[in-house]
């Protein structure tokens, strides 16, 4: 044992510097830089203007990142492959792949980030204080907390934490090996664990959400990691391209490969909230600060799904017939459970959480079609369908949670559905906006949600999973019920008692709500450009 120690000290040849394409990685770097700037702001900017500065930095940073993604996208190499040329290339010695779908996801994440940070920045509800607690270390209700409120303390760190999470997600979406992916997974998760626990109101459940998310997240990432280990054991490498080579060349039944796929799937399915790994979703979505919930629902799901697509299609694409059936089952169970359980929810955030579970199911339908576009086949592949759906769903859920933040009474947000009765009379525009988003979630035509459903169903059918499409259609009807029920409550029911009080939303929230609603409708009426884009992004680069 001791004998090997000398080798520790042995000197070797110089290590060559790795060739990084900085243009390709620029959005990633930019987002990271924004986080760092946030840290510097934390140190140098006086407390009085710190919150505003942080907000501006985060939002502007996201927008700049969005711009950079466009620049990167336009500069992607074309690789003639299959029906659509795949765009982009593997960078950083194979650790990441900056390709069409990946860059689109970046853009999507940047948009979600900008919207979510606008919500983070809303300070009109607590007398000029944000929705995050002033001093998380104080026990809720303690004199210390009151003191912090009085001193107008604010955790401006939420912005750097959010941007770090966003960087993690961006890396997650383009990781091309399991180790990078694992690190990215943790980078995106850890800030979220913290963000979940710092709600100003109802901090008890906020902390509980944080604890649950953390414990289960760590548990699930252990599964992911073990899967990665087994994949490494199977292929001798953690790089997707090399795993793919090994998968294609496998001779025996490859049970270890199956175990690897299974455990990696557990980790990823946990992140997207698919049944039976969904159980954290309702609790965490309900407990977390609403703005954070919106961010998680939109961005985490997007990043995790793209990562899942990449793992399944690039690394394990060769054995797609192994994993497709189990994904079909999971998709069905997820759609069903999400839709059915949402019906009996009485809390709007919890209902939206179950709705997110159901949507994960719908996305899985598209994904598990595993349709990559044959030469003369369907114009929309599983990848572009899922990307479109993620965009629509993400925008919709940020908008929906933004609206939840506005409906309040004296004790903060009134998330109990009974309190939403009569909102349509109280505040028709707000209720109308929520109704549009609900209809989109329900998949009613002329909203983005419909086109999204259409896309994933098409991809699934093209991948021979037509039965899944039929089941999906039926689940949509069940799901529609609880969306519609909210509309009934808002418009057709008279308010109970005082009814909901709608706080006057600040500019930030108003902008978010307006943008998301408009985007939802535009994506429903003229989805062409967006779909073309998703299609043009092509397939993953191996």
């Amino acid at each position: 044992m001791i004998g090997v120690l000398p080798s520790v000290a042995a000197a070797g040849p110089d290590i060559p510097a790795v060739d990084l394409d900085y243009r390709q990685l620029s959005p990633l770097i930019a987002m990271g830089a924004v986080a760092m700037i946030g840290l510097i702001v934390e140190v140098v900017v006086p407390r009085r203007v710190r919150f505003g500065t942080q907000a501006v930095v985060a939002v502007l940073g996201s927008i700049i990142t969005l711009g950079l993604t466009v620049w990167v996208y336009l500069g992607l190499d074309e690789i003639e492959e299959g029906r659509w040329p795949a765009l982009g290339s593997t960078g950083a010695d194979g650790a990441v792949t900056v390709d069409g779908p990946g860059v689109l996801t970046w853009a999507m994440l940047a948009i979600f980030g900008a919207l979510a940070f606008l919500l983070f920045a809303e300070r009109s509800f607590h007398g000029g204080l944000s929705d995050f607690t002033g001093r998380a270390a104080d026990a809720p209700g303690s004199p210390g907390e009151a003191e912090a409120t009085k001193a107008r303390l604010e955790h401006t760190e939420v912005f750097p934490l959010g941007t770090f999470a966003l960087v993690g997600m961006m890396l997650f979406a383009v990781s091309n090996d399991l180790i990078t992916m694992f690190v990215a997974l943790e980078v995106l998760s850890l800030p979220l664990y913290v963000l979940c626990g710092v709600a100003r109101r109802r901090r008890l459940i906020s902390q509980e959400a944080s604890l649950k998310y953390f414990l289960l997240g760590a548990f699930a990432s252990a599964f992911f990691l073990y899967g990665a280990a087994l994949a490494y054991g199977f292929a001798g490498s953690v790089n997707f391209t090399e795993i793919d080579t090994a998968v294609s060349a496998r001779g025996d039944s490859g049970v270890m490969l199956l175990a690897a796929i299974g455990l990696i799937l557990v980790g990823l399915l946990f992140k997207v909230g698919a049944v039976p790994f969904h159980s954290w979703t309702p609790d965490v979505y309900q407990g977390a600060p609403t703005a954070v919930t919106g961010f998680m629902a939109a961005a985490t799901k997007a990043a995790a799904f793209v990562a899942m697509l990449r793992v399944l299609f690039v690394a394990f694409g060769g054995s797609s017939w192994d994993w497709r059936p189990i994904l079909w089952v999971i998709a069905v169970v997820t759609m069903l459970l999400g839709s059915v359980v949402a019906i009996s929810q009485t809390d709007v955030k919890r209902m939206l959480a179950y709705s997110s579970v159901a949507h994960a199911g719908f996305i899985l339908v598209g994904l598990s079609g595993a349709y990559l576009g044959e030469t003369d086949g369907l114009a929309i592949s599983s990848i572009s369908a899922v990307l479109f759906y993620l965009l629509v769903y993400g925008i919709g859920s940020i908008g929906a949670f933004a609206i939840v933040t506005v409906v309040r009474d004296s004790a903060g947000e009134t998330t109990h559905l009974s309190k939403w009765a009569g909102l349509g009379k109280e505040s028709p525009w707000l209720a109308g906006a929520f109704a549009v988003l609900m209809l989109s979630f329900a998949g009613i035509p002329l909203t983005g949600g419909f086109i999204g459903k259409w896309a994933v169903f098409s991809a699934a059918w093209a991948g021979d999973a037509w039965l899944l499409v039929v089941i999906g259609a039926l689940c949509s009807a069940i799901a529609a019920y609880f969306y519609v029920r909210v509309i009934v409550l808002m418009f057709f029911t008279d308010p109970v008692g005082d009814g909901p009080t709608v706080a006057v939303a600040g500019v930030a929230t108003t902008v978010v709500i307006a943008l998301t609603v408009i985007a939802t409708i535009v994506l429903g009426v003229v989805p062409g450009p967006m779909l073309d884009l998703a299609q043009h992004a092509g397939v993953f680069v191996r």
């Binding site: 850890l190 626990g197 901090r203 414990l215 548990f219 252990a222 280990a229 001798g236 490498s237 609790d283």
Partner: protein, 97 residues
Amino acid sequence: MTEYITLSTLLFSIGAVGVLVRRNAIIVFMCVELMLNATNLAFVSFARQHGNLDGQVAAFFVMVVAAAEVTIGLAIIVSIYRTRRTTSVDDANLLKA
């Protein structure tokens, strides 16, 4: 080689069971750490089998990640403890159904 991996699977499973049965949040978390350690063992063993160091690098990253994770996790547990005076995960069940 098989025995290393078998040991690793055993440790992993024990850790997983620990998560399910322990109520003290800190111990639950320790069990997660046990699972990560088991994974590391697998990585290191596979590295030897395949004759490349990627597995060891992986194990290294896992350790780093675990360190960060422990920091956050324990901070969360402490903050919960401050509010509730308990570290039992069963007591954190306001959110349900």
